[in-house]
């Protein structure tokens, strides 16, 4: 076996240490000298201790240990220097690990839209009132000038209770109670749940949300209705180029009654798969029928007003691109958890 002398080792090491420029080099030196098959091991293995006297053994031991200690200290020193040159800080904490309990829940998409609209309407001076969901036939129909024999009152359109009341078919059931309670002038919205006898499928639901608005004051006109609707929709869709149009529509509790269309925001009115015609039917509305005002104790010769009905569920479908209406009441967290509670 080839024997290597302490001196050779020392000289070679001194040279290599000087050449070490990076932590990696130090690591390599550590392996080369201190490793299991390293120089020191070989140095040790190169001597036959049985042939050595006790004195020689002792000397060897001292020399060996001194040299090894020197090496170790040098390496640490050089390493520390290199570390000091390259890295200024050893991280005490990995701040990039996820925080604890940062998850937040979700608000139902209809309520998200409702909260937003309530804020817009509050800014426009409208109060909010929810009203009951189980209502009298009078408030749901008669008060709204819906004749006794109107098809909407049929069993196939309305959920009737055995006690003669109905699950409100629209939030308009609040109109007369609100007029009675607050009188005129009045600016109020009624967000809430409504029910219609329907077979549930991808685009039909028996349970849905509306947000109805009612404004009654002196000299309220069609021009005001257009103005308020345009302002509202600009806010809802965050655009100031919203175009709307009114066309005749019929609802017994308004006269005249309108269908309000909004120019398709996707195609800008050119006509696309969503809108076909360039316009999307969005808000049924109209001037409050004098009979409704009378039922509400408001003198129709002094006051006029307008009413409009926004489909909150429908608006949520538009806003969040939800293709199926039945998702709203399914309670599936894969749906509900998407609407992060950030309002």
């Amino acid at each position: 076996m080839e024997t290597i002398s302490f001196n050779e080792v020392r000289e070679a090491f001194a040279k290599e240490v000087l050449e070490a420029k990076a932590i990696d080099d130090i690591e390599k030196l550590k392996v080369k000298y201190m490793g299991r098959k390293g120089v020191f091991r070989r140095l040790q293995d190169g001597f036959d201790f049985q042939l050595m006297s006790a004195k020689e053994k002792k000397r060897f031991g001292i020399e060996f240990n001194t040299l090894k200690k020197h090496f170790e200290e040098t390496l640490i020193e050089v390493e520390a220097k290199l570390v000091g040159d390259n890295v200024t800080l050893v991280r005490k904490i990995d701040v990039s690990l996820p925080g604890k309990d940062s998850r937040i829940g979700a608000i139902h998409p209809v309520n998200l839209v409702q909260i937003e609209l309530e804020a817009i309407f509050q800014g426009m001076g409208f109060s909010a009132m929810t009203g009951p969901e189980v209502v009298s036939e009078f408030n749901n129909f008669d008060a709204l000038n819906i004749p006794n024999d109107h098809p909407a009152r049929d069993m196939q359109d309305t959920y009737w209770l055995k006690n003669g009341m109905v699950l409100r078919t629209h939030t308009s059931s609040n109109q007369v109670p609100a007029l009675k309670k607050f009188g005129a002038p009045l600016r109020v919205i009624f967000p809430g749940r409504c029910f219609r006898y329907e077979n549930v499928d991808a685009s039909h639901e028996n349970t849905f949300y509306q947000l109805e608005g009612l404004m009654v004051d002196r000299d309220i006109s069609v021009a005001h209705l257009i103005g308020v609707m345009k302002t509202l929709l600009s806010e809802v869709f965050h655009r100031d180029d919203v175009k709307i149009r009114l066309r005749p529509g019929y609802f017994p509790f308004v006269e005249p009654g309108f269908e309000l269309d909004i120019q398709c925001l996707l195609c800008g009115g050119k006509g696309c798969l969503t809108c076909r015609t360039g316009w999307i039917e969005l808000i049924p509305c109209g001037m409050v029928h004098p009979m409704v005002l009378k039922h509400g104790g408001v003198d129709p010769s002094k006051y006029t007003g307008f009413a409009f009905g926004l489909g909150l569920t429908r608006l949520a479908m538009m806003k969040f691109s939800i293709p199926e209406i039945r998702l709203f009441n399914c309670g599936d967290i894969r749906f509900n958890s998407q609407f992060i509670a950030t309002v």
Binding site: R103, H108, R245, R247, F258, T304, A341
Partner: protein
Amino acid sequence: MKISLEWLSDFVDISGIDQETLAERLTMAMAEIEGVEYLNHFVDGILIGEIVKCVTISEAPIKNLVTVECGGKTFQSICTAPNARVGLKTVFAPAGSEISNGLVEEREIEGYKSEGVLCSSSELGWNDIHEIILECPDNIHNGSLLSNYVPKEDCLLDIDNKSLTHRPDLWGHYGIAREVAAILGRELRPIEKVDLCLFDDLPYYPISIDDPEDCPAYGCIELLAPRHSPAPLKIQRRLNAIGQRSISLLVDLTNYVMLEVGQPLHAFDADKLSSNIRVGLMDREQNFETLDGQTRKMLRGDLMIWSGDCPVAVAGVMGGFNSAVDTKTKKLLLEAANFRGALIRHTSIRLDLRSDASLRFEKNLPPFFVRESVGRFLYLLKAAGHFSKASSRFSFSGSASGETRQLTLPPKFLSQRAGTQLPDEKVTNILKRLGFQSFFLTSGELHVEVPPYRSVRDISIPEDIVEEVLRIYGYDNIPMRLPEISTEPTKENLSLSTEHKVRRFLSSAKRFIEVHTYAWFDSNWLETIGFIPPEGALELANPSTQQNKILRTTLIPNLLALIDINKLYQEDFRLFEIGKIFGEQWGDEKAEKAEASRLAGISFSSQKDRNLTEHFFEIKGALEGAVFICQNRNVNIIPIDNDNQPWQQAGCWGKIFINGREIGSLGIIEQPLLDKVVDRGQIIWFELYMDSVLPKRIYPEIEFTSISSFPLSWHDFSILWVADRSYGELLSALDDFEHTLVKRREFLTHYAGKGLPSGKISYTFRYWIGSNERTLGSEDIIEFRDSLMKFLSTKNLGLR
């Protein structure tokens, strides 16, 4: 409803305006046009001819060798239509002409020469009826060009029926023509009619009406029946175009008049009647055979036409078999009537006989149409060469005549409602175009005469005139305005804002997911979990399904049902719902309310190492937080040791109180219910009465407590308490301790186990003591400790 523009052109000139533009203008001023459909017919080179020879060359399937005479020229053709017969005038497409199957060529079929095709309406591109060849009236000369009778193209406007519910005057082509004329500002041509006064010398046909509410008008005339004949080609084509089959002159004409004027007509075989008509309700249940041969069960209250003692028609729905016109009919009784819409609707829906006629009657037609339609029918009959003689006068009974009505609008009414100035002249002009005569009085009032074809329901108040004027004026021509600013503050809605506050808190701070569930229970599910709705629960009279008939009285069952459908997607989730529950117990004295607001939540976890106690207290903390943000302090939850609802199991739940008022409950779900809800996991639930946690004001009234400049000191005490009594009870015991130096008491921890007397639990509290006037000395502390010790001993409480 489909409108043929070719038909419409009889009454108004629509040249120079393309169909899409016309549709758009109608949408904007009348009712939504849902579609425009273009029709192309084959007419070039096609002739009318008479079959002069018809030899059957094979039976089954039938094939005839037919010779057609077309004005001096004869042609031979092979025809498979069962109605091919000698003497029939039909339509012949000779070789070289084009029909829907392509170019017609001379061919040889089974050894016979075929020089052209005898045409069905499908081959002419009218519809898809191809089994029979067309039958033409006798008065057309052989060899006439088809193009003399039918157009090469037509266009249909499809109008949404729903948008015409309030406009019974628009259920025919003439009504639409009237609108088109008004909208385009063009002339409306009069509809030609026979003057019914001509028959006034003839005897009156007796009519009696039991209740004029049910039948405001009934008109009829008795005529000699026309010979059986096909209708004029123009009429057949038009009926075909809008989806009707052509049957015979009589049937086609009644349909045609209905589609033109809007008034359904019915023809009885007058010889099968007892020479009188009565309109009245069915007074008992009775079977009745309608003219389609079906026996229908009529109920008390169905409106019927009677003759003698015998019902002869279901009013407005369908005639009776016993009075139906057939080939032997000599005399007709032609009926035009007006019925109460709702009656007709109910009967037709029940019998599942929704016809074009019932659809129109449902809308409460203007009685004016009664006379109009009969006059028009007779005119068309005459024009077809089939009117011979009437044997009665036009007999009419009813309260509703057909006169104009008067309306007066206050000065400036129209401009005020519009919100823009409308010139007087413009207003009267628009009204005139719509058939309303009007003029302004010197007082500024507008006097309007409403034409009789506009129904009373449609036009009866000044606001109705606003609509008439503005829709023609154009809503787009009204400049928008915002209402004058009112500085009146909006009214606070405490319950709504509290609801949103809780909603935001649970979702954003406590990672709950908000869901909505239906307002009714699912009775199968209730049975599974063993819940019986309380007395006073509301029941639907017409639920979608029988298992969904009871309205929810609590939100918990519907939420529990969501665990199973969601457990696959997440092993750990929290849901909440804010919604209404229903029942008489939540009613008010005016019976205008029978509901209450609830907040309910569930938390589910199927994580293996989840600690149930920890889980419970996390949810309890969330719930307490929700109550705190409603400005309620002193939430107190008292354990309940009885079973109540299935999810309220003894020892697993408690009631929530604020200041002694019960506001809800919460708990965990244990076996046996747990297994029924989910196969594995933990469920924590809570339900809160939202109406009971409402604060007095949306924004809190907080009173600042001055901060002492002297230091506080704290002292911990571990108090031993009986294990089978609750922490809540210990708290209320400790609440009795009053001492001027105590600033705050804080619960630190509790301990049960080794080193304690058996049956005891140790609860450690920290008392913070201090004074606002001075720094406490050791004597104060000793005094405090002594008095606490003394207090504890009076309560039999020891320290650990």
